[in-house]
Symmetry: C2
Subunit: 135 residues, 2 copies
Amino acid sequence: MIDRKSKGSHAERELVRMLWKAGWAAIRVAGSGVQRFPSPDVLAGNGVRRIAVECKASGELKKYLSKEQIGQLRSFAKAFGAEPWLGIRFDNDQWYFLALEDLQETPAGYVVSQALAKDKGLILTEVLGEFIYKA
Amino acid sequence: MIDRKSKGSHAERELVRMLWKAGWAAIRVAGSGVQRFPSPDVLAGNGVRRIAVECKASGELKKYLSKEQIGQLRSFAKAFGAEPWLGIRFDNDQWYFLALEDLQETPAGYVVSQALAKDKGLILTEVLGEFIYKA
C-alpha cells in the first residue's frame, strides 16, 4: 500500500516513460497543484503537437475532479499552446485519456468512472496517433 | 548564503514568475538533471512559440557547462519542438539568454562569462519579443 501522493508520482513517471518510448519528449512538472500558477502534471511534445496532461491514478471505480483542477488545466493548455487531456489510470487497467468535454459534470466539478474512461477515453497510441484535436 | 541547489531552484522560480508576468505559460521541470531522460529546467510557451531553458545562477564571474548538459538541452528541445536557450543570472545582474551557438567552447564543454552574457545574450523581453529564432 502506497500513499496517494506516491501513487500519483509513480503513475506520472510511468506515463513519462511511455511517452519517451513512443518518441515524444515528456517531462513531469515540478510542484504541480501546489504552485501559484496553473500547471498540468505532465507536458509532452513531438515537434508538431503538444499535450498537457492532468494525471489521476485510482484504486476506486470513480475519480472526482474539482472544477478548479480542470479549469487550471484548460487555462494552462490554452496559454502554453497544448491540447488539454485528463489521463486516468485505474488499478489493473491501462491509461485512458479523456478530452475535457467528455468528463461527466457533477455539482462540484467532474467525475470519471472506469466505465466512462473505457467508453469515451482514448488509449495512448490513439492520443499520439493521427488523431486531430479539435479545440 | 544559500546552497547551490537552493540558489538554482530560487532562480528558476524567479524566471517562471517573470514569464507568467510577460503572458507566457511556464513551468519548472521536476527532477531535471537527475532523471534518465533529457530535460530543461524551465519550459514555457505562448501559444505560438515554446522555449526550453537550462538555467544557471552564479556568484562567480564565469559558469562552466558540460557538453552533456548542453547536448541534452539541444536534444530535448528538438524532440519536443522548442527553442533551446541557456538562461544565466549572475548575482546582482539581470537574466541573459544565450543561443547555444553563442556559448564559448572549452575542451570539456562550454563556459559563459558575465562579459560574454552581456555581449551576446538577449534580455528576457528580447527573447519573448518579435525575435525570430533561426534553427
